[in-house]
């Protein structure tokens, strides 16, 4: 179970994520990124991408993960439609493996709402409250 809610932000886009597990929180972040970019839903995909990351904190891992998805869109025109599988291991560092679904898009044919230019650390703190993982994330546009 996970959900996200866009909240008021004067200049950029802020979203609050809630999920039962850390993995779901990351899935939820991908959904929120997708929704921030596009109102319509793209129901098909033609390419899966596997990503591996490691970081010293969960926050750094989340920023790096979303930054990579954003980079793939901005430079390769590969738009992530969903995260299909996320695995997270915590040893001395946080390690993440993710399988993403998406497709190459033509910007001139799809009405993207915003250009997310960066994933920021502002107010980003992953916390466990009443058994649920939660965080706020701000996309710089």
């Amino acid at each position: 179970m996970h959900n996200y809610k866009f909240i008021e932000h004067t200049a950029d886009i802020a979203v609050e994520l809630t999920a039962s597990t850390i993995e779901e929180l990351f899935l939820c972040a991908v959904d929120a990124w997708n929704k921030a970019m596009l109102d319509a839903e793209i129901l098909y995909d033609d390419e899966k991408i596997k990503l591996d990351f490691e970081a010293e904190s969960l926050e750094e891992l989340l920023v790096n993960f979303l930054s990579e998805i954003n980079y793939l869109f901005l430079t390769k025109k590969w738009f992530c439609t969903s995260a299909e599988d996320i695995k997270l291991i915590h040893t001395d560092k946080y390690k993440l493996t993710a399988r993403l679904a998406g497709l190459i898009v033509d910007n001139s044919k799809i009405d993207f709402k915003e250009e997310i230019k960066a994933i920021t650390y502002h107010q980003l703190e992953i916390k466990k409250i009443n058994g649920k993982y939660t965080t706020r994330i701000v996309f710089d546009i």
Binding site: L74, F112, Y121, I141
Partner: protein, 484 residues
């Protein structure tokens, strides 16, 4: 007066102070009014950010904020801080993601009355010729990394050398469109990749290309020197370093978060990540940031050229009839090494201007000869429905704000709220009824950028004028706008 948790002391009607407290190294000073303090700043985190910036090692005199101050990442937008060149730090949070986001103003010989009926056509042509919107690309052919590196070193000189403008344009660009000691080896491959097809593109958000008309002249002498007259058509460009600059900022935030820990600065906000200017990390960021700044100047230079071509084509006139000349190009997101008078001694400092414009005075060796009698043009865009301002730099700015002034209006409503406010209304028609022709990639952008979503830039500019930091020269009004 208690504002946003801080006891604020009045210095003058337009200057207010957060006294030094806790681990602050200097006091905070905000150019604002009682109304703004009790209004938009009452529940804003921006004042806390002014206080946070005062913790930066090596900060000189004050942590400053201009009247368009609002909440940002690390530094507030509208924040100015100078740090000691030898012992101070440099912080990407004091520059912002969009390195060298800035404004370029060009003049024409045209009068509004002559071209009134052609404004719609010009706007449509601009929209065809200047790529806008999410991931916009392809103004010029995609450039190989080697050519991007040349841009990173040479700034707008690259554009001029490749036929996108002339040498006069260089003269009238801050820093002549090129910061020296820019090192492309400090810029990641990823950043270069993001820039490869974005030279000459406007992008999205609040970036724009506008046709403006000179509406009111306040300072005849300065207006004359800048080549401005009432009723004249001007072209205003607002954009920055696009994805390349964002990637540089992103890359170095990671490096400097680690550096801040390594140097044990213990700052109150992670987004104030910084490193000593003289450290390897600090030097690498400085070299990369200068590259992104140069990319932005080149970007605005190409857009200006594309705008000229559009004007010539639509109006079917010759170059000499159009007489398209650059008035000035200023950056408002930057960190620069400058010399300033600190307690009576000239000192080398790193001036961070984040959402703040350089405003050098008459006689400055760093401004074009032609402007030496009146000071540097300071370009302050407002919103797309009301007006923007041209100011001039003053000696008081050199004494009080490290030669800095405001940069714009600042948002009043969130993008979501602005969209809600626009629901059920025909915003394009509303703008047309005010005499403004608009083209944008999406209707959402128009709703987000409507005048009601912004503060009145008049109030901001008035504070700068009344406090003597910059002088009002002219007010200009938009008649044609393209947005991303």
């Amino acid at each position: 007066m208690l504002i946003s948790g801080y006891e604020i002391e009045k210095i003058t009607d337009y200057l207010w102070e957060i006294p030094k407290q806790g681990r602050m190294l200097v006091p905070g000073r905000i150019y604002t009014s009682k109304n703004m303090l009790e209004g938009s700043l009452q529940n804003d985190e921006a004042l806390k950010q002014v206080a946070n910036v005062a913790h930066l090692p090596g900060i000189q005199k004050y942590s400053l904020a201009m009247p368009d101050i609002h909440w940002g990442y690390g530094f507030p937008i509208g924040g100015v801080a100078a740090t000691d060149f030898d012992e101070g730090v440099i912080s990407p949070g004091g520059v912002g993601y969009d390195i060298n986001c800035g404004v370029r103003l060009a003049r024409t010989s045209l009068e509004f009355n002559e071209v009134k009926s052609k404004i719609d056509d010009i706007v449509k042509q601009f929209f065809k010729d200047v790529p806008t919107g999410v991931g916009s690309s392809g103004a010029i052919k995609k450039l190989p990394p080697k050519e991007i590196k040349n841009i990173l070193i040479n700034g707008s000189q690259w554009a001029v050398e490749h036929g996108f403008g002339n040498s006069d344009d260089i003269e009238y660009t801050e820093e002549k469109g090129k910061l020296i000691e820019a090192d492309p080896d400090s810029v990641s491959e990823r950043a270069i990749e993001r820039g490869q097809d974005q030279a000459g593109t406007l992008g999205s958000g609040n970036h724009f290309l506008e046709i403006d008309v000179v509406d009111e002249i306040y300072d005849e002498k300065a207006a004359d020197v800048f080549g401005i007259f009432k009723g004249q058509i001007l072209i205003l460009i607002h954009t920055g370093s696009r994805g390349l600059g964002y990637q540089v900022c992103d890359d170095y935030l990671k490096v400097l978060v680690k550096a801040e820990k390594k140097f044990n600065f213990n700052l109150p906000d992670r987004q104030l990540a910084c490193a000593p200017i003289q450290s390897q990390e600090g030097q690498d960021y400085l070299h990369a940031m200068r590259c992104a700044a140069n990319f932005a100047w080149n970007n605005r230079q190409i857009i200006m050229y594309l705008a000229k071509k559009s004007l010539l084509k639509t109006l079917n006139i010759s170059e000499s009839e159009l007489d398209f000349k650059l008035i000035y190009d200023v950056c408002h997101n930057i960190a620069k090494i400058e010399s300033h008078n600190i307690d009576g001694v000239k000192k080398k400092v790193c001036v961070h201007r984040k959402g703040a414009t350089r405003a050098f005075p008459p006689g400055s060796e760093f401004i074009p000869n032609k402007y030496k009698d009146v000071g540097q043009p300071v370009l302050v865009p407002g919103d797309m429905g009301r007006y923007s301002f041209i100011l001039s730099g003053t000696h008081k700015a050199m004494e009080e704000t490290f030669g800095s002034s405001c940069h714009g209006a600042g948002r009043l409503q969130s993008r979501t709220k602005a969209k809600k406010s626009g629901k059920g209304r025909d915003l394009i028609k509303e703008l047309q009824s005010q005499g403004i022709s608009i083209q944008a990639k999406g209707y959402g952008t128009i709703a987000e950028e409507m005048p009601y979503a912004y503060k009145d830039v008049f109030d901001v500019v008035d504070i700068m004028h009344n406090s003597g930091i910059s002088n009002k020269v002219a007010k200009i009004k938009p008649v044609g706008v393209i947005k991303g």
